[in-house]
């Protein structure tokens, strides 16, 4: 079994959901990005999702857009993304819009990410219909392939998309873009139930999750909880590295306790 599979297995044995934390590569800068990831891991984040900053992030709300703009201004490209991945001490995935991967070279991207120690890629704007080269490249490099499904995804399609996922399935909790929300809709739970009907792959829920209470609700029915914008916000609000990292660790601890059933 691969790394992601093992992580979900362990969490299941411990009767908890897995906590997945997102950070944009090279934000706020390369060194602080690495120390922030360490702070998140210290607080109990199980898996790290490294965002490849992109100029046109249509799935992202204002918080991650701002982090992406800062990272791009820092000159972050694929090499820097791999460097951040290599610095992480827990299983780590990359989240990337499709064009940067295609521009780098599909096979080369998969291979170099694997060489850097990455275990998978989340592709938020790659449809199954356009995935032929990607499926082959990820198979060759033994990377997990994570697609995002949404409450609007119909059953027939849900089965088609999830059958191409490995590692886990990313279930969007609501119709919308990334960013913290004060309340979650009931859409997430019914989506996870529909996924269970067609797939045995673990399901992680993301979009809008920002605090322990929400994480605890999701952990009741999902295998993983994904938190992104809430971490980025702490970094945007706090320019002092140590203070910011302390707040990242504190949020990670809160979330990590919340995902225990």
């Amino acid at each position: 079994m691969n790394l992601l599979g093992q992580s979900f297995e362990i969490a299941r044995e411990e009767n908890r959901a897995l906590l997945i934390g997102y950070l944009t590569a090279g934000f706020p800068n390369m060194e602080r990005c690495k120390s922030a990831i360490k702070a998140m891991i210290d607080g109990g984040v199980d898996l790290i999702e490294v965002g490849f900053p992109y100029s046109d992030p249509v799935m992202d709300g204002p918080v991650i857009q701002q982090a992406s703009e800062i990272a791009l201004a820092n000159g972050v490209g694929a090499k820097e993304v791999f460097e951040i991945v290599a610095s992480s001490t827990v299983p780590t995935l990359v989240m990337s819009y499709w064009n940067p991967i295609e521009k780098f070279g599909v096979d080369a991207f998969a291979q170099e990410l694997r060489d850097a120690g990455g275990c998978g890629v989340i592709t938020p704007d790659l449809t199954i219909e356009e995935s032929q080269d990607w499926i082959k490249a990820t198979q060759d490099s033994k990377l997990d392939r994570v697609y995002v499904v949404a409450p609007s995804t119909r059953d027939a399609r849900l089965s088609k998309v999830t059958s191409n996922c490995s590692g886990f399935i990313y279930a969007a909790s609501l119709m919308g873009v990334t960013g913290t929300r004060s309340a979650l809709s009931g859409a997430a739970e019914s989506l996870v139930m529909r996924i269970r009907e067609v797939s045995k792959t673990p399901v992680a829920v993301g979009l809008g999750v920002s605090n322990g209470q929400q994480a605890s609700e999701i952990a009741k029915y999902a295998d993983g909880v994904i938190v992104g914008s809430a971490f980025i916000k702490l970094l945007l609000e706090n320019g002092d590295e140590q203070e910011a990292n302390r707040s990242l660790t504190a949020l990670s601890q809160e979330l990590s306790e919340a995902v225990r059933r």
Partner: protein, 395 residues
């Protein structure tokens, strides 16, 4: 050309979108196809074109302008005379009717210069739809008059303050709105770009330009033109006129892109001539991008051509060689703008002036025995201030 099930033109096109949008795109593709096959829909749209748009648009022969183009005979397809002043209304009315057909009550649109935003606001007013237009903050300042027009028509205009604050970012913001409100909202995309079915659907609504023009020119001259010319930003007016002539192998199809300050300056919007294949805004096409796949900012004196992508069918026509594409600089476009104004009494949109500059070049190459058809895609009222500044006319 016809597309496959997921909307490819050769290796271009397709769908690169969040999964959340796929069911809406499927629904739209189905609505478009059933509308195409429904005589009642076609009748309703043609009646609107006849009684509201002002179709068919006429053809004007540019006798005096011809002297600047090597003496070639030049025929202008007058889309500038349409209601709202450009070809954009053809697509907007079609999609607004499809919105009603799908039972949706809210449309969102992106706009650069404001022409598509004004056309969308117009259609929304006519058909009783709610309308929100996303416009880059920079563009709202450059095109304040069009912002006022949209508001007068009852639309809400949201200035976009992210990224480069221009058309590209307005499209991003419209996509984010759509992902969130897709149940109730139709994204009325204004060009032949974006994910399938937009490139096909928008082309189909603009094909009326080419169909009319082909019949008109045959009646006028008894033969097909030697070349059909049109400006290309996203490429909707060009694909509209080209599509009726693609099967006529003797007719050269020439698209004129915005060369800005020149290709070598890096400050241009000539996506085909100066870009590389990539993915942008949901489709695989040519893109202005850096070595990391990040979209570069485009530059053009014409806000309507100032876009770092292009419709995927143009990418296909370019690589297959069926159509040819050239870059026209800001300077060349403004010279043609002045020439047409003074020789024919027609002030064209600056976008359209790129096609006229192309005719001057190609005319000199082919000489006086050539016949050209030019899509005069829009009028220049909106550009008076830009042109006055350019030519040093005090306001």
């Amino acid at each position: 050309m016809s597309t496959d099930l997921v909307g490819h033109f050769g290796k271009f096109g397709g769908r690169f979108v969040p999964e959340a949008l796929v069911s809406a795109l499927d629904e739209l593709a189905q609505a478009h196809q059933s509308a195409q096959e429904d005589p009642d829909f076609q009748f309703e749209l043609m009646e609107l074109h006849r009684t509201y748009t002002g179709r068919p648009s006429i053809i004007t022969e540019a006798h005096r302008f011809s002297a600047y183009a090597g003496g070639a005979r030049i025929f202008l397809k007058r889309e500038d005379l349409n209601h709202t002043g450009s070809h954009k209304i053809n697509n907007v009315l079609g999609q607004a009717l499809i919105t009603k057909r799908m039972g949706k009550k809210r449309i969102i649109a992106e706009t650069g210069a404001g022409q598509h935003g004004v056309a969308s606001a117009t259609a929304a007013a006519l058909l009783g739809l709610e309308c929100v237009v996303y416009m880059g903050e920079e563009d709202t300042k450059r095109q304040a008059l069009n912002v006022a027009r949209m508001k007068l028509l009852g639309a809400e205009v949201i200035p976009v303050t992210t990224g480069s604050r221009t058309l590209k970012d307005a499209i991003n913001e419209a996509m984010r709105d759509w992902v969130t409100n897709v149940e109730t909202t139709h994204y009325l995309l204004g060009t032949v770009a974006g994910p399938d079915p937009f490139p096909t659907m928008v082309r189909d609504f603009h094909r009326i330009i080419g169909d009319e023009a082909r019949a008109q020119i045959l009646e006028l001259t008894g033969r097909l033109p030697d070349a059909v010319l049109a400006c290309v930003g996203g490429g909707s007016n060009a694909i509209g006129i080209f599509s009726a002539f693609i099967g006529d192998k003797s007719v050269r199809l020439i698209g004129l892109e915005a060369g800005g300050e020149g290709l070598d300056s890096g400050k241009h919007a000539a996506t085909l001539v100066g870009g590389t294949p990539g993915v942008l805004h949901g489709t695989r096409t040519y893109v202005l991008q850096d070595e990391d796949g990040q979209t570069k900012e485009s530059h053009s004196i014409s806000a309507g051509l100032d876009y770092p992508g292009v419709g995927p069918e143009h990418a296909y026509l370019y690589e297959s060689g069926r159509a040819e594409y050239r870059a026209i600089t800001d300077k060349e476009a403004m010279e043609a703008f002045a020439l047409l104004s003074k020789s024919e009494g027609i002030i064209p949109a600056i976008e359209t002036a790129h096609a006229l500059a192309g005719a001057i070049k190609v005319g000199k190459e082919l000489g006086e025995r050539a016949n050209f058809l030019i899509n005069l895609s829009g009028r220049g009222d909106k550009d008076v201030q830009t042109a006055a500044n350019y030519f040093g006319i005090p306001l």
